[in-house]
């Protein structure tokens, strides 16, 4: 076991502080953990990715964050009120210090949002915010041009940065706050946040060491981990072996093939959860004329057995889907269930005049999603039963996305997780009418286009009455289902595993940002 209870050299302490304070013998708790990859940079605005957000939650604090029930919990913002349709006022926590010792104020929030609006990755989702102003030391006001119902969702992405620390110029004369994708910026190597952990050592691709911030503001946090050593282990089998052998105490993700093995091991525990990442296939109407006929698309949708894939291929590690929005999202329609019905599929094909089927090409990645290549094979086999011959090609993710952007196959697989945890985002990227200028429908490889739905989503994004908004988004989801705009497969489940004494269940969540600051490691 690597959780070492090292007695801090109390003798040294005694010698040094002999006269001052009585040295309390303190046990240090170290957590060794392994993810599949380490953060690409220490600059949390350099890339919008899961890895960077996981780092953000360890070293910074957001204004608000999601709790387990997908509700907002106050963090650096203690209170908020909607002043009018376009203004949100937030009260900030007092007495918070950054790792550098600087005090956290409203100016830091303003500075951070302005930097987010410059970041190539974040500026699109922060576009609705017109301005941020510091009303006083601990109050900020967000103004939007039009009413925007998702401001709090955006606030989960605002991790106030230490504006003083990141201002000025570094040794090379470059501004410390510049955001550089491929280079050595100051912010990519230095970090000062308000979060529970400071980065004390980092060797890219080898390990990152975090030490608990002594003056962390959240004194109610039950977290008792003093030090985290994070090692990237990309090989699934090795990551699991490292946990089983006791070399590490916490791993994620857990490959589905090893779930049973970890569940059956007395020294380890497994936590799984229904995820929010939808896996789906697009049917390209521009490349295949038959896909313009809704009956053909419906036939395809009826021919796919989502439950079979989730049960057999994914070994229960997925939730079969009949829509994009997972439960908990505003647009989720309760009644939509997978509609596998082979006879109905064959009937529809006959009605559309394609009784003898046709030939299509299909493409999927083979190392991006859980079992992606196998899922594509299963779908191809299912389509054979409505006489559709599939020419399937699977590619590593490094090559796949270029092909995806060029829409080189008739059916292409994609998985999507809404950055805003909201249904509108799913529609905007996956099923909106493609428009290169506005960026709408950027990943709509089906070329499905229904201007009415686009208008409805635009309207929903101005609707501050959340119930009315949900109703609109549900209408969108229902129409997409009725017209079989795409073929939803499942929401990929999430899994984490740890040593038995590491209580990960309370800190993991559906966004896959474990709140490690609150992690409790029990003494053995």
């Amino acid at each position: 076991m690597t959780i070492k209870k090292t007695l801090l050299a109390s003798a040294v302490g005694a010698a040094m502080t002999a006269a001052a304070i009585a040295p309390a013998a303190q046990a240090e708790t170290t957590l060794s953990m392994a993810y599949d990859a380490d953060p690409v940079s220490l600059d949390i605005h350099e890339q919008l990715s899961g890895g960077i957000l996981q780092l953000s939650h360890m070293t910074f604090d957001p204004l608000v964050r999601w709790n387990k029930d997908l509700e907002f919990a106050p963090r650096l913002a203690t209170d908020w009120e909607q002043v009018d349709d376009t203004t949100l006022r937030m009260t900030l926590r007092e007495g918070v210090e950054f790792h550098s010792g600087n005090a956290f104020t409203a100016e830091d929030v303003v500075w951070t949002v302005e930097r987010l609006k410059r970041s190539p990755d974040f500026k699109a989702i922060f576009a609705p915010i017109a301005s941020v102003t510091a009303v006083d030391e601990h109050t900020v006001e967000f103004t939007t041009e039009k009413p925007y119902p998702l401001l709090l969702n955006l606030a989960t992405y605002i991790f106030p940065m230490d504006s003083q620390f990141y201002s000025g110029e570094d040794a090379d004369g470059d501004p410390k706050d510049e955001i550089v994708k491929n280079g050595n910026s100051y912010a990519s190597r230095h970090l000062s946040g308000t979060g529970p952990f400071e980065v004390s050592e980092r060797q890219q691709g080898v390990r990152v060491v975090f030490e608990r911030h002594d003056d962390y503001w959240d004194e109610d946090s039950p977290g008792n981990v003093d030090k985290i050593v994070m090692t990237p282990i990309s090989e699934n089998a090795t990551r699991v072996a490292a946990l089983l052998s006791g070399d590490v105490d916490f791993i994620a993700p857990v490959p589905p093939n090893d779930l049973e093995r970890i569940r059956n091991d007395d020294d380890t525990q497994l936590v799984t959860m229904t995820g929010t990442r939808i896996i789906l296939f697009h049917m390209n109407q521009e490349r295949v004329e038959a896909f313009q006929d809704p009956r053909v698309r419906q036939a395809f949708a009826y021919a796919i057995n989502q439950e079979g894939i989730a049960d057999r291929l994914m070994k229960g590690f997925a939730t079969p889907a009949a829509q994009m929005s997972p439960e908990g999202y505003a647009g989720h329609v309760e009644d939509l269930a997978p509609r596998y019905d082979l006879e109905r599929a064959q009937e529809l094909m006959a009605e559309a005049g394609y009784e003898d089927g046709f030939e299509i090409t299909m493409m999927a990645p083979n190392n991006r999603y859980v079992n992606d290549a196998k899922i594509a094979q299963a779908v191809a086999a299912m389509l054979a039963r409505i006489n559709v011959t599939v020419d399937l090609k699977t590619l590593p993710k490094a090559q796949y996305w270029g092909e995806y952007d060029d829409r080189v196959a008739d059916m292409m697989m994609i998985g999507w997780h809404a950055d805003t945890e909201d249904s509108a985002n799913l529609h905007e990227y996956l099923t909106a009418c493609p428009d290169a200028d506005s960026g709408a429908g950027q990943y709509n490889a089906g070329n499905y286009c229904n201007p009415e739905l686009d208008a409805l989503v635009t309207e929903a994004n101005l609707e501050v009455d959340l119930e009315a908004r949900a109703e609109m988004l549900q209408r969108v989801e229902q129409t997409l289902h009725d017209e079989a705009a795409f073929i939803p497969l499942h929401w990929q489940d999430l899994a984490w595993a740890s040593a038995a004494n590491v209580d990960i269940e309370p800190v993991v969540n559906v966004m896959n940002f474990p709140y490690l600051g609150d992690l409790v490691v029990e003494e053995e």
């Binding site: 491929n182 280079g183 050595n184 990309s234 090989e235 090795t238 072996a241 490094a398 270029g402």
Partner: protein, 348 residues
Amino acid sequence: MIAFLIKRLFHALLVMFVISVIAFAIQDNLGDPIQQMVGQSVPESERAALREELGLNDPFAVQYLRFAANAVQFDFGYSYVFNEPTTDVILRHLPATLELVAASTFLIIALSIPIGVYSAIRPRAWLSRFFMGVSIIGISIPVFLTAIVLIQLFAIGVSWSPFPADTGWGAWLNDLISTDGGMPAYGRGDPVPVFGTWETNFASLEGLTYLVLPAISLASIMLPLFIRLIRAEMLEVMQSEYVKFARAKGISLRRIYFLHALKNTMLPVITVGGVQIGTLVAYTILTETVFQWPGMGLMFLDAIERSDIPLIVTYLMIVGLIFVITNTLVDLIYGLVNPTVKLTGKPA
């Protein structure tokens, strides 16, 4: 001698040039580095700007000439992933790989010579047959599987109880076929810094325990090959006239085996060995991946996964260089062992 080395230097440059051209020519098939740098929801306009900034839109010739102009000044570009010069990245990962290769080479030499010689001298002994049988199995198991099995046996541990555990003999037999585990399953632990970016695992006992399993897996590919090679060569030498004559003269068997016969056995072994060490560097990619050993192989696989083209090109060129260097060394050693071979083709 000097002429030979200069010739080899030109070889090395030629090899590196050819590799860099090939690597550049296929870079479009290595994936889109932009995709790896930005989040999925980033609009196409931002991607295009970044692509332009990195010069990825320029024609092949322009990109290659820009690279070559810098490369002759030993500037091989910046890694997209590590945000550092690629040579720095590789130099930092090189010691780990070299140590792993060194440990495996040591294992191979220490085991293959005695086993090979023994099974040549006593071809019919049951021990020789056992070694030959095991080496057949060893050569046919992929290194990936060997590594996973080693981790399961010695890092995680297995407990089998096919025998009744409540009887004394049953418990003893169960213990015999079960393992405790406890060996480190991944990584290098805390290697001791030597100087600069060079950290070593050889300096402490704990460091060595991290080396054991990866080194055994890596050695498992070459070991059977060398045992068989040494055995075959030795058998042949034993049939030669001079060995028969030495026997007739009454020279002690030990002297014949280990002085006269072994020396001639080693000639082809050195040639093959040199080439195989280069191959060993290539096999480190698999071993390092399974053991998360932070060396060049793991780095290379990571670079491929993230389409880090500058790093891929530099790595390939350096591996080409390593091949040329090991071949040169082999030729030099060969000249020492067998003075009748002349390296430059001129009278020595």
